[in-house]
Amino acid sequence: MSIIAARKESTTTAQADAENQTAASVTSTPVAPATRGQVDISNVRKSFGVTEVLKGVSLSVQPGGVAVIVGPSGSGKSTLLRTINHLEKVDGGYITIDGELVGYEVRGNKLHELREKDILKQRTHIGMVFQSFNLFPHLTALENVIEAPIVAQKRSKAEARKRGLELLDRVGLKDRADAYPRQLSGGQQQRVAIARALALDPKILLFDEPTSALDPELVNEVLDVIRELAKSGTTLIIVTHEMGFARDVADTVVFMDQGQIVEAGTPQDIFANPREERTRSFFSKVIEPAFNI
């Protein structure tokens, strides 16, 4: 566990560095400082059977921050992301959002798992976008977007429709509101999925490889939408293999390997001067070929 404590320290210094830099260059500061969406992951552990997939992971993301998680396949990135909205139960450690425990409540000196109803309520603050879109195929684009506001938040249909059309407009799909998912391209489907996640007005958005099911020429239309979101003050946690995009959009890059955070820091730190040998060898495999083309 001492390794993790040390790592946590290095994370905080990295963040301090980042703050100094943003103070110098005004361009990268968000328009209005975000006040909600602080995520704290503390020593989270998770096993599937005998294999330990998360071995004590700690990470903090500031309100309005953009954290990009990278790492080799099977390193536990998706699992970590899914613990943040309690789709995956942790075996140890805890996660808080704006100080509120996710999936648990304190009673005495124990953490009791919340009832399904309360967990669902927490999830409305945490939007999630999946690699395989998971749009509801029997509902139109607009119906996909307004389903949760109506069913989970009991908003009026008229209000939800109005907001839904605004969101579809924001992702550039207002004119396809009545199309069914199968009538849309992959990139368009993923943009609808982003609008659907935004419809609940979440504090935090989780992206699990949002572009890896897309043809190369469709990747950018989705990344552009996420770039816009990054400026809007919503906290974003993104798992991706798009290193160029990570460099652009992240204020913290987190490198995971074998269920642990190997190092975390600003894009400059992690991409240009990685401290750890494992990080260096991963990027030498992933980035160099990509940038040499």
Binding site: E116, L120, I126, F130, N134, P137, H138, R196, A197, L200
Partner: protein, 321 residues
Amino acid sequence: MSAIAPPATADTAPPTPDYSEYKLVPARHPWRWVGTVLVAAGVAAIAWSLVTNPRWEWGVVAEWFTAQSVVNGLIETLKLTAISGVLGFVLGFILALMRLSASPLLVSVSWTFSWIFRSTPLLVQLLLWYNLGYLYEKISLGIPFTDVRFFEAQTTTLISQFAAAVLGLTLNQAAYSAEIIRGGILSVDQGQLEAASALGIPAWKRSTRIVLPQAMRAILPNAFNEIIGLVKGTSIVYVLAYSELFYTVQVIYNRTQQVLPLLLVATLWYVVITSVLSVFQYYIERHFSKGALRTLPLTPLQKARKFFATHVAASPTKDAR
């Protein structure tokens, strides 16, 4: 890429001849025509024999087709089908949910139910229900292992022919529809449930608004198979001397000895019911295929209207619609 691409062929290859003045002739299919003629001849021969062979006794068929007793039997058949169909599918739905639940007890109860009712002949089940009075003289509702009784009755007064028929058909139907519904639910991608719960949609709404509408596509063809089977399957309750369509017809031909024409009467009614159900099936399936197909095919009615609009009505504005 462009560097490796072969050089432009314009100046080396011989010029392509100009075919723009040629007329297009579709391929001919002589054997298709031969087949069509043969089949048409066969159909005509069968129709001819049906009409001209006096032993079909179409006059008798027509006479009995709408006779009061036959119509009463038909109504009983429809009643049995509707009641045991609806109850069977409702119970089947509950059994399917039990089978898919996380509770080992519910899973095994549901499994055992299907096992028992699918492995005993329906005939035996019906006779058992009808003769329940022989096994249990009284039926009572109360708190087990105490003397508290809210309700008590003679079994034989409680289980009429109708009750035995409905019980037998319903429970049997439930066992089969449970599997059909379970299959439909399993066919829906797990990611759909995950996405719905990530959006905070409550469990019941996840089932009814997200999973079931998608499961319906897999459920419906089999469900209609079952219902159509049930329409004819109700004829098995003749063992209880229950006067539905088939039993009624039997009673009549035992009296009049016009066996074939009366069997035809029953058959024609079954054909009518099945045809009506098939039309329902078409439109219900179409409704639930929303979003599953890129474009919905036209209904026969829409096709006819389009044909009329383009070919018959407006010839000057041929391309208008």
